[in-house]
């Protein structure tokens, strides 16, 4: 298994697109942060990221979660779908899959190794974006402990959010934590992408399928008539991680639900992928 994971990593890391992706994931946040700084500070609003953006002036590290919220809704979804949909289908499109499987290699282990690599690449991408933004923010605005204003219960559906302070170390740590939460929140995308990848012979179909499923989840989630059924959608708790920067908490019930729902989607999709891949006739 370790050998399989290592070989799959080598294949992934040595792709020219990986270098371009790294440049992009570092360059984009740096450019955005470089554009900050003009205009007066704005007061914190509940349910918006204006407050988080406002805090960037107090400590540039906050640029990490502030940008992550923006990028996690589309760009990072595309990347997650890309890495997941590429797992098996890219080898199939090169005609290399049959050569991997004429060795005494268990198909289950191969698929799990590829999934492990895809998960790691997604996590690395999210981390890179977050810390590139945090780093750029730190350079531009400096770093300092921040004081986050609370929100009275009257302004937040009867729930009071107390005021709290975050040390610089906590800010850096929470950047990594929210990157992990966002990545785990892509569990459904990862599982469905791998499943579609075992079915398709071209990565584009699998990638489009995974992204399409996530977008469809977002659309259903926005239709109130579906009521509590929306709680089972992978996008429903997609922003629960923000509590790590607007409340003094490392973990909330909604974060737990987000992880649980996505873990369930991932488990079902991966089980289906394994079932199909074990039985599949390999033509590519």
């Amino acid at each position: 298994m370790i050998a399989l994971v290592r070989t799959e990593f080598t294949k992934s890391l040595r792709r020219p697109r990986t270098l371009l992706l790294v440049l992009f994931l570092v360059g984009l946040p740096v450019l955005i942060v470089a554009g900050f700084g003009s205009g007066p500070p704005r007061p914190r609003d509940v349910g918006d990221d204006v407050g988080t953006f406002r805090l960037i002036r107090d400590s540039g590290v906050v640029a990490g979660p502030a940008l992550l919220r923006r990028l996690a809704t589309f760009l990072l979804v595309v990347l997650a779908g890309w890495f997941a949909g590429d797992t098996v289908a890219s080898d199939a499109s090169w005609g290399n899959l049959r050569y991997l499987l004429i060795r005494p290699v268990s198909r289950v282990r191969l698929l799990l190794a590829k999934t492990t690599v895809a998960f790691t690449m997604i996590f690395a991408s999210v981390l890179l974006v977050t810390y590139a933004a945090a780093g750029a923010g730190a350079v531009k605005f400096g770093v300092a402990p921040i004081h986050v204003d609370g929100v009275p219960a009257a302004l937040n559906a009867g729930i009071e959010i107390p005021t709290f302070d975050l040390t610089v170390a906590e800010q850096w740590l929470r950047c990594g934590l929210v990157a992990l939460y966002v990545t785990l929140g892509f569990g459904a995308v990862l599982g469905l992408g791998v499943l579609f990848s075992t079915v398709a012979d071209q990565p584009t179909g699998a990638v489009a399928g995974a992204i399409g499923a996530y977008i469809a989840s977002g659309i259903f989630d926005g239709i109130a008539i579906f009521g509590s059924a929306r709680n089972a959608l992978p996008t429903h708790y997609a922003e629960a991680w923000r509590a790590c920067f607007i409340e003094d908490r490392w973990f909330t019930a909604d974060i737990g639900r987000s992880l649980l729902v996505n873990a369930a989607w991932f488990a079902v999709a991966i089980t289906a992928a394994l079932w199909w891949f074990r039985r599949k006739d390999i033509h590519s």
Binding site: R14, L101, R103
Partner: protein, 317 residues
């Protein structure tokens, strides 16, 4: 002792289409065994089933006496080229070999890299990305990959596709050398001369079914024409025309072409010598190509189902 390869009643269906139909053959150690048939005959599908890439609808395939399943340990004893030799395009030839070897659980130090590189003959290009290789280079690298594990069995599906005549000769010599070393080779092709020059035994497949099987010599000997050169052409013509197994006698150059329905060259020679005619040369004219065409004609006509089966059988998918 069990055979190296056993295919028993192998049938592979794709929906309504039957690509391989009750195919059986057996390959013993040290044989160079040809799987001969036109495009779409089901050769590639049969070899995919043999390598555990496709599941038979019915029937069995065994390697070294063990039934084949995806990921079977016996696959460690096999090297293969299935259709085109394909690689990860953005990696070098050497890195492709190494990753493929290690992904299968092998230690790189145990791989027979020296032989592999000698076969590949791509010198410094081994460090170049595979996407810069010509088709011939990729195919040679495919041979290198197949030989990395010093395989006891080589399964080669149309291995000379994309190679020039000189490269084809190198491949032929290589196969002979491997056979001399006691290794077994299963070799599919629709190039008749290739099979004739390379294989000791062959099975002829058409529309997924076995049409004939045996030594290549016996397949050739079953039908066709013989060219004879004698000191008295006129008398020889009369003697040969009188033989019941001869269907026609015609002049060609200084000799005669004799079409035989049954029998062997030896029968013709004996008849001529018995009539007091000196025989200068007596050679088989038909070779495998004629025998093959006779066999193909005997197994036609294809119906609509057969035609679609042919499309599914050996074509790239």
């Amino acid at each position: 002792m069990s055979a190296v390869v056993e295919v028993e009643g192998l049938t592979k269906r794709f929906g309504e289409v039957t690509a391989v139909d009750e195919l059986s053959f057996r390959v013993e150690q040290g044989q160079v065994y040809g799987l001969l048939g036109p495009n779409g005959a089901g050769k590639t599908t049969a070899l995919r089933c043999l390598m555990g890439l496709e599941r038979p609808s019915t029937g069995r395939t065994r390697l070294f006496g063990t039934e084949v399943a995806p990921g079977s340990p016996e696959l460690f004893r096999v090297g293969a080229i299935i259709e085109q030799a394909s690689f990860v395009p953005h990696l070098s030839g050497l890195r492709n070999l190494r990753l493929w070897w290690e992904a299968g659980g092998g230690r790189w130090a145990d791989a027979d890299l020296e032989t592999a590189l000698a076969v590949a003959q791509i010198d410094d290009a081994i460090d170049r990305k595979v996407k810069t290789y010509s088709q011939g280079m990729q195919q040679r690298l495919g041979f290198a990959r197949a030989l990395l594990g010093r395989p006891e069995l080589l399964v080669l599906d149309e291995p000379t596709n994309g190679l020039d005549p000189a490269e084809i000769r190198v491949v032929r010599d290589l196969i002979h050398r491997l056979a001399d070393e006691g290794r077994t080779v299963v070799f599919s092709s629709h190039h008749l001369s290739e099979v004739e020059q390379t294989c000791s035994h062959a099975v002829v497949v058409n529309h997924g079914r076995r049409v004939a099987e045996g030594t290549v010599a016996s397949l050739i000997g079953g039908a066709g024409s013989v060219h004879v050169e004698v000191d008295d052409v006129a008398r020889a013509r009369a003697v040969l025309a009188a033989l019941p197994e001869v269907t026609s006698v015609s002049s060609q150059g200084l000799g005669l072409n004799v079409e035989q329905r049954t029998g062997s060259r030896a029968d013709l020679g004996a008849a001529l010598v018995g009539a007091g005619i000196r025989v200068e040369t007596l050679t088989t004219q038909n070779r495998l190509e004629e025998a093959f065409l006779v066999l193909m004609q005997a197994t036609e006509p294809p119906g609509p189902t057969d035609r679609s089966a042919a499309q599914h059988g050996g074509t790239s998918r």
